[in-house]
């Protein structure tokens, strides 16, 4: 009886706390809010039509292009960008490199939100989303499908990342016991999460293995899964650098000087990792190029486009990273990370949309509605990130 009363009391306290935390903080009319609020509202209107009138009413998808911008950008690219979380947790928890400990929390949060929002965008694209539980509750397991594997891994990975992040939530809600408990789970969740990441990052590439006759031979290769995995490493690292630079400006007052490794050192270290990963990736590409004797394909539009992607957005940013690390130039690292991110976008979109059915007459291009919804997803992710970052101890690493 009294036990129950205590529980209810606790719950009430927490509820009050939650309500209090829900309230917005700081100024309302920031430029970001002014841009993002209308877009999010517009996106909701578009989604209303999408769910009542069908996908065709707002997207340019067609029978020849069943997957468009929502899959190609939101899901395939978004998940590659979220790869930073598994790399950083690997470095910090498995290899125990203390240098990066101060960015673990924010990276995991970014990864978690990216999965929730970008992989969640998959639901928007499903024609019959109410059946999404079918492959999960097990009344119809399509074990032999790559997509089955990828969707399960998304789900499990989200849980793993949530466990990794939950100590922060417990700290914020002042649940000391819970914090201790979930902290103990961290290493397990990290190891599980890294394994899952390896599999679904490459799995996203493996999705396209059966589209062999449809993808331009310069982009199709039986090694797509490996290429996707390797490129997710530098995609993730570049994204951490990029986000780090932005949040260092925006959340300046939240970031304490607790870590004794300077921010600059961390960025340079990440840049070093990205340079090496890109270098390896470039040679993978070259190896496949030679093995498949693709030089006969290089002398037309698609060939040049391929060179733009591989040289302009892989090799050049790779050298820029290397140069910047050697000369300790944060400025060049910033540019290089942006270039590398564009390169990833290009690569993923090339495989899923641009060089997909490259020879058909009416090519697919995204409608404005598709772009607005994509922006909506990105902005709402930033909103969620901001809400959490300003309330929970994300940027700090105290014990």
């Amino acid at each position: 009886m009294s036990n129950k009363a205590v529980l209810i009391g606790e719950f009430r306290k927490f509820f009050k706390f939650l309500i209090q935390e829900m309230k917005p903080r700081g100024k309302w009319l920031t430029p970001f809010n002014i841009i993002s609020i209308p877009i999010i509202l517009l996106g909701l209107v578009i989604l209303f039509f999408r769910f009542t009138k069908g996908l065709g009413s707002v997207t340019n998808l067609s029978q020849q292009f069943p997957w468009g911008f929502w899959i190609g950008f939101d899901v395939v690219t978004g998940v590659a960008f979220a790869g930073g979380a598994y790399i950083i947790t690997f470095v910090v928890y498995v290899m125990r490199v203390e240098k990066y400990h101060s960015i673990v929390r924010v990276t995991v949060l970014n990864g978690l939100l990216a999965y929730i929002f970008y992989a969640g965008a998959l639901v928007l694209d499903l024609g019959r989303p109410w059946h999404i539980i079918n492959p999960i509750i097990g009344n119809s397991f399509g074990y032999n499908s790559v997509l089955f594997l990828v969707s399960w891994h998304f789900l499990l990975y989200m849980i793993a990342e949530f466990v990794e992040f939950s100590p922060v939530i417990a700290e914020w809600a002042h649940w000391e016991k819970v914090r201790k408990f979930v902290s103990a789970l961290t290493l397990g969740a990290v190891i599980f999460g890294i394994t899952l990441s390896m599999l679904h990052q490459s799995g996203l590439g493996a999705l396209f293995l059966m589209a062999k006759p449809k993808i331009h031979p310069l982009w199709y290769s039986e090694f797509i899964p490996i290429l996707f995995f390797v490129s997710s490493i530098f995609a993730g690292l570049s994204m951490i650098i990029f986000e780090g630079i932005i949040s260092h400006k925006v959340f300046k007052d939240l970031i304490g000087e607790k870590s004794h490794y300077s921010y600059e050192e961390i960025i340079l270290g990440l840049g070093k990792g990205a340079a090496i990963a890109m270098f390896v990736y470039y040679f993978f590409k070259a190896l496949i190029f030679i093995h498949e004797k693709q030089w006969v394909l290089i002398n037309d539009f698609w060939g040049y486009w391929y060179l733009v992607e591989v040289i302009g957005f892989v090799l050049i940013p790779c050298f820029m990273f290397a140069y910047a690390v050697r000369n300790r130039s944060i400025g060049i690292i910033k540019i290089a990370s942006v270039l590398a991110l564009i390169g990833i976008i290009l690569n993923r979109l090339n495989i899923s949309v641009i060089a997909f059915n490259w020879d058909v007459a009416n090519k697919y291009y995204p409608s404005w509605q598709e772009i607005v919804v994509t922006l909506m997803v990105v902005f709402s992710e930033i909103w969620a990130f901001r809400w959490i970052a300003t309330r929970m101890p994300v940027f700090s690493k105290e014990n």
Binding site: F51, T52, K53, G54, L55, G56, S57, L61, S62, Q63, P66, W67, F90, Y93, V94, M95, R96, E98, L126, G127, R128, P129, H131, I132, N134, P135, N139, S140, F141, G142, N144, S145, V146, L147, F148, L149, S151, P167, S183, T186, I191, F192, I194, T195, M198, L199, S202, G203, A206, L207, F208, L209, M210, A211, K212, P213, E222, P225, K397, N399
Partner: protein, 290 residues
Amino acid sequence: MNRRNFIRTTATISIAALPLGKLNAQENKEKKEFVGVLVDTTRCLGCRLCEVACSEEHGNYVPDVKNDHALEKIRDTSEKQWTVVNRFETKNGEVFVKRQCMHCWQPACTAACLTNAMFKTKEGPITWDGDKCMGCRYCMVSCPFDIPKFEYNKWNPKIQKCNMCYERLQEGKKPACVQACPKDALLFGIKRELMEVARHRVYSYPDKYVHKIYGEHEVGGTGWLYLSAVPFEQIGFRTDLGTTPYPEYTKEFLFSVPLVLFGVPALLFGLNLLTDRKNELNKNERWENE
């Protein structure tokens, strides 16, 4: 169920399950073989009665065959019509080709489907189940013949494709299109027997037919077979699809998944222990999980 597993197991060449699979195969052989249809394009008149019969059978859009001049363009099957007949101008004159799902032996679409909504029945036809499908359209991405079609303009969209009149087959009838064909251009039967008929025709009239039966080996063999008087690429067939069954392309990846799931966590844990030891030796502050 066993039968289905067997197909899948052989498709993914599971060595461990092979002896068992062989037993099943013998046991099932007497029971049933996959059915298919042989299309002899030299006999087709282009009357399009099969289109009409198909749409009537399945409640789809029934074309007005007499007046719609549909043969002037090359059409594709659509979410409204599961089969279409196209006219091709060749050096042998007009050739009419019916197009529909090929009912592959080892279909890419069922390997792609994560809910088993696309399903290869034990009789051979590939069917679609609306209670399972979640509309991901991965089957459309995977099908080498671009057959599954999606209703983009409905809130409750379906995947539309030929199911070889599965309901009729169960009643012991032929597919509606085969029934409707006035010229016997379509022949329904077990693939093994159809192949014999097809070979017989090709060998008896070597000047009339090209020496190839489309569907014998394409993408691992298909249920629908085609005979033609002109090379197949001239009448709208892709001849660059290869003979590998499409599920094979993802086989290696799917096989490596359990390996990674077993191996990598152990490896990572080992690495973790290793680094811990190093830290101790270095007398660094002990790592603590926060």
